[in-house]
Subunit: 121 residues, 2 copies
DNA sequence: TAACCATATGTCATATTCGACATATGTCAA
DNA sequence: TTGACATATGTCGAATATGACATATGGTTA
């Protein structure tokens, strides 16, 4: 991480330890966000595959349509727990959830480029 | 639902009211609890492997010793998010976290018996 | 156009989770 | 015994996540 960013955060009142320590936390936060986004996409995909509305999924998990919408857009206000509960409520297995949590998304663009490069070479 | 399951959950610190109440726990909720317990055990295992105290882990994740203790005992008041954040902060990979989330615990005794049976047969 | 349905967004009162603190328990060495 | 250290538990005010509601947006059909 850049020193300038650290300075900025410190100026804003954030207590930052060593740069290395901060890096670890930053990575953890980023991974958490990525996990949530991945889970959110799966919620939407599963719901659409089952051809049910957000309203119906909401009822299934004891929530409301608006919260389901927030879930699927990985809104800041949604917890990991609710995301996972939603998947499980739609019939996902622990293994499926674990797979989503544990799998980093690969960029399709990057993959395409790599493939092209191989063909060319 | 089997009484053995109830016992298991209670042993893990999840106080369950009446049996009838427990019966109303959905499969999804039970899976969620099991995931939390598995993650909690991993937090403790990783911390001990790194030979650091709860106090130090607390500082690493910006929390307190008491909360880390609650984390490791899978207290009701701890979120999935904090459990995962703790693992990531100690250097766990997404793949590792995913593996814990997605893997149901199998009884060693049961496994041993199965193996023995195979040998015998 | 209008009416309808699905989804997104903003707000709010309540519920849950948070860090922090006090304190209890347990272990080990002086 | 005492004291120091690690961990567990109970509580509390603050922070965050919740369901619910109103409403906006976008697509489809009459």
């Amino acid at each position: 991480m850049k020193a300038s960013k650290k300075k900025k955060l410190e100026a804003a009142g954030w207590k930052v330890g060593s740069a290395a320590e901060f890096l670890e936390l930053s990575d953890a936060e980023e991974m958490l966000v990525n996990m949530k986004v991945a889970l959110a996409k799966k919620v939407k995909a599963m719901r659409q595959e089952k051809k049910i509305t957000q309203q119906r999924l909401a009822k299934l998990i004891g929530s409301s349509q608006s919260r389901v919408a927030k879930l699927e857009t990985a809104d800041r206000s949604v917890s990991m727990e609710l995301l996972i509960r939603s998947l499980l409520s739609m019939g996902a297995t622990r293994a499926q959830v674990g797979s989503i949590v544990g799998t980093r998304k690969t960029k399709k663009v990057a993959k395409a480029k790599k493939k092209k490069a191989l063909v060319k070479g």
